[in-house]
Amino acid sequence: MLVPFRRLLHKAIPKSTAIGYTLSGKFSKHVKDIVSDRDIFYDTYAMIYGFSRSRTYTALRTIYLNVPYGRGYVYLYGATLTQTPITLFLNLDSKCIRRNIIENAIELMSEGACSLYLAIPFTNDSFSQLYRNRIYRLFKNLGVGLELLHPSYTLVVGKSRVFKDSPSTIWSTEILAATLIELTVGRNRVKVEDIGCVDVIPSAMQGVESIYAERLAIDFINMLISRKIIDEEQAKEYLEMVKSS
């Protein structure tokens, strides 16, 4: 009997957990179809990180975050719920996600090619500008996160343990997770892929990017202190650098 190629491919992929997140509870249908695929995912959750006042009715298991607009906590809570060694986080509103990108990412993870995989920037002009001025400057200074050109990514796949051990920040926990891996395990353990498509942060979120950027910078510096990568004096310098930008 002929078996479609895709099904054969799926058999080779170890199952992982998909944690989709959305601001409004309205999902992009093709993304929902992908994350509902039981051949790839052992379990799938949808996390609503917006200010939801009514329920979203969907076949996906749905969790409403206690702290609205805290996309960063999706990683922490997703890692708490997952029961598989690999967890995939993705923006359910994405216009760029394709099935083959997800399959490739999971294959890379299962082969052990990396500990964290990021693709498809999730940003807007103002957030990217703030990120470049405040955070990427720090990265260049420290020589880490040089591939992390954007403040957040739509597709993040990693070992579940990575997200549990990583500190959280309000929006961009994946950036902290990526830099932590680079600093503690090695730069080659993080893979950032450019597929030539960008997801734009919903317009409802405009105006608060500076809070997210500043918080990310502070949380990043705190992470460096707690891991004894920098001392208090250096931390002060970096904080000045963030504030002056």
Partner: protein
């Protein structure tokens, strides 16, 4: 009786207080992220384990012998994770705090037996203070789905509605409806409701929700009559 409690510092005092007042005193195992809870548990004679990761709870074999698990952490996802562990360990009764009512289904799916709705308590009390002329539903004892609907009459006090009208339409329903005034005295059911009188209906969830919809229809009917009456007064130029 053996009780397992996962709790944070915010709710620890109130839960431990209830548990240690039980007779005979149960064996209590407290798990928490917080040092403050460790101090409290040890001083109150409870066993304590520090948790950094809820998954580690799977390694505590003795949990299989427990009768009740209480997930009193300050986040629904964490409480769901604790409930999942308790269920897999075969603990027959799992009580969980819920901070967002929309997570109810997910909690039930993960084996929570009884949900304590923290959000409802806060929001309903706030609504009562801030929103007059609105039906407010308070979960009294969610375990048996006993709820209470409260309505503070302000603008609608001009309509002349009395409690008897409400009572008549719920004749066959197993709920109780009455009104009290601002100082807590019962209002006679034949007396028209005045400003700051409070209508109270108590019963099970399904019946109360149905009754509240009917009560609202009565209010609207009286409002229509009131509008018609004053339209006529304006049209015919006063009472004369």
């Amino acid at each position: 009786m053996k009780i397992f409690l996962a709790v944070n510092k915010k709710h620890a005092k109130q839960i431990v207080d209830v548990l240690i007042s039980l007779t005979p005193k149960p064996y209590i195992l407290v798990a928490s992220y917080d040092d403050e809870v460790e101090v409290l548990a040890k001083l109150q004679g409870c066993e304590f384990i520090k948790i950094k990761d809820i998954e580690k709870l799977y390694t505590i074999e003795k949990l299989e012998e427990f009768d009740i698990a209480i997930a009193g952490l300050d986040d629904d996802v964490l409480n769901i994770a604790v409930a999942r562990v308790a269920k897999s360990m075969g603990i027959p009764m799992v009580v969980a705090f819920m901070h967002n009512s929309m997570n109810r289904d997910e909690m039930l799916k993960e084996g929570v037996t009884y949900i304590i709705n923290i959000e409802n308590f806060i929001s309903s009390n706030l609504k009562f203070v801030l929103l007059p002329d609105t039906w407010i539903i308070i979960e009294l004892i969610p375990v048996i789905k006993l709820i209470i609907a409260i309505y503070r009459v302000v603008k609608r006090s001009v309509l002349g509605v009395n409690v008897k009208v409400f009572d008549e339409i719920i004749e066959n329903e197993k709920i109780k409806v009455f009104a009290i005034d601002g100082v807590g005295n019962f209002v006679n059911e034949n007396k028209p409701l005045e400003r700051d009188n409070i209508i109270i209906a108590i019963g099970t969830e399904d019946k109360i929700l149905k009754a509240v919809a009917e009560f609202e229809k009565i209010f609207r009917k009286y409002e229509q009559l009131y509008t018609l009456k004053y339209t006529d007064i304006q049209r015919f130029g006063g009472y004369g």
